[in-house]
Symmetry: C2
Subunit: 203 residues, 2 copies
């Protein structure tokens, strides 16, 4: 019972240490050596499981995000998008996930393996669920039949990532609501009859 | 006439060297020392002018982007947005600017001074011109009066940055056209009368 942790316990200890150290000293200064030392693990143990600091960091970060990503389905698409995207900005806009995720996306600009893993393990599952929920909405007549579902992630998430990575202003529920309103109503000149208002659940 | 370059010439030589080395070895491995050595300048000369590698890199990169950012004004907002955003993706989607700009945005996730300078010197001027052009379009009845102009950059640029930084798929004119079509027509259920189609200049 006094052996050092093995298997799943050891993996978990290494990932927890990665996140702790990442928060303390920042991603840039994080090293496999420092993680190994604090976690009481050998460097080789870490490298056997993770090929790079980026890969270890991605695994560690995604282990934080245990919540069910699946969409609610109240029957109203705008309500459900609001709920889902409010939860996403609560995660992105706050520690520990927010700053660590920002560092991961920074790393994805330098390391194509991190970028590929980020897409495969974090972005693609979100995209699949978003498109599935939007398809149901389209079938229920709540979405423009002309809307190109393959753009759903780009137009819904793009404005959040722009604020998160570029302007780096706070992500708020109010911002999400304004974006949804703009996206649902469109930038174009409205038809003569009034277009539906989507900025609140009330109607 | 055999003195080493001074003043503006020296500044230009240092910035040119920064971009050359950046393309050769990547941003992460770039150092002030290596730039100084190749440019035949002293490290102190560089540090007197630029407080960090990120600041030098930003200046160097923006010196590449000499084209007039101002919008065309043909009288048709969709045509003008297409022209402007096609030019933007030609820049972002190709070397030398594209990969170097991607590295800069990566650095902006770690260095708040780089993020602030990127916004002040590159993003804010684009935002001002975009909003000015959209205001004219709104006055000309080509834009929904309900569209929140303060979101213009986020909804127009967000989908491009999402593709550029997150999915890292190629940025094409065809992608821009599909995004503009989606944004102008809106995701929401159309009113009974048909909404205007904006995916081409023809009508």
């Amino acid at each position: 019972m006094t052996d050092p942790p093995r298997g799943a316990d050891r993996t978990e200890a290494i990932m927890r240490t990665t996140l702790e150290l990442g928060q303390e000293i920042g991603y840039a200064r994080l090293s496999i050596e420092a993680i190994a030392a604090r976690a009481g693990a050998g460097k080789h143990t870490i490298y056997r499981r993770w090929p790079s600091k980026g890969a270890l960091f991605l695994d560690s970060l995604l282990s934080l995000h245990q919540s069910d990503l699946d969409y609610p389905d109240t029957g109203d698409i705008v309500t459900d998008l609001r709920t889902q995207i409010h939860a996403a900005v609560d995660l992105l806009g706050n520690p520990p996930f927010g700053p660590l995720y920002q560092a991961l996306v920074g790393e994805a600009q330098y390391d194509p393996q991190v970028a590929a893993a980020l897409n495969e393990r974090f972005i693609a599952p979100q995209a699949a669920m978003t498109v599935a929920r939007l398809k149901k909405a389209r079938d229920a007549g709540q979405l423009s039949p002309a809307f190109d579902l393959s753009l759903a992630m780009a137009v819904l998430s793009g404005p959040l990532y722009f604020q998160f990575l570029i302007t780096q202003e706070p992500l708020t529920h109010e911002y999400v609501d304004r974006v949804l309103h703009a996206l649902f109503n469109g930038m174009g000149k409205p038809s003569q009859s009034p277009s539906p208002d989507v900025d609140s659940g009330e109607s």
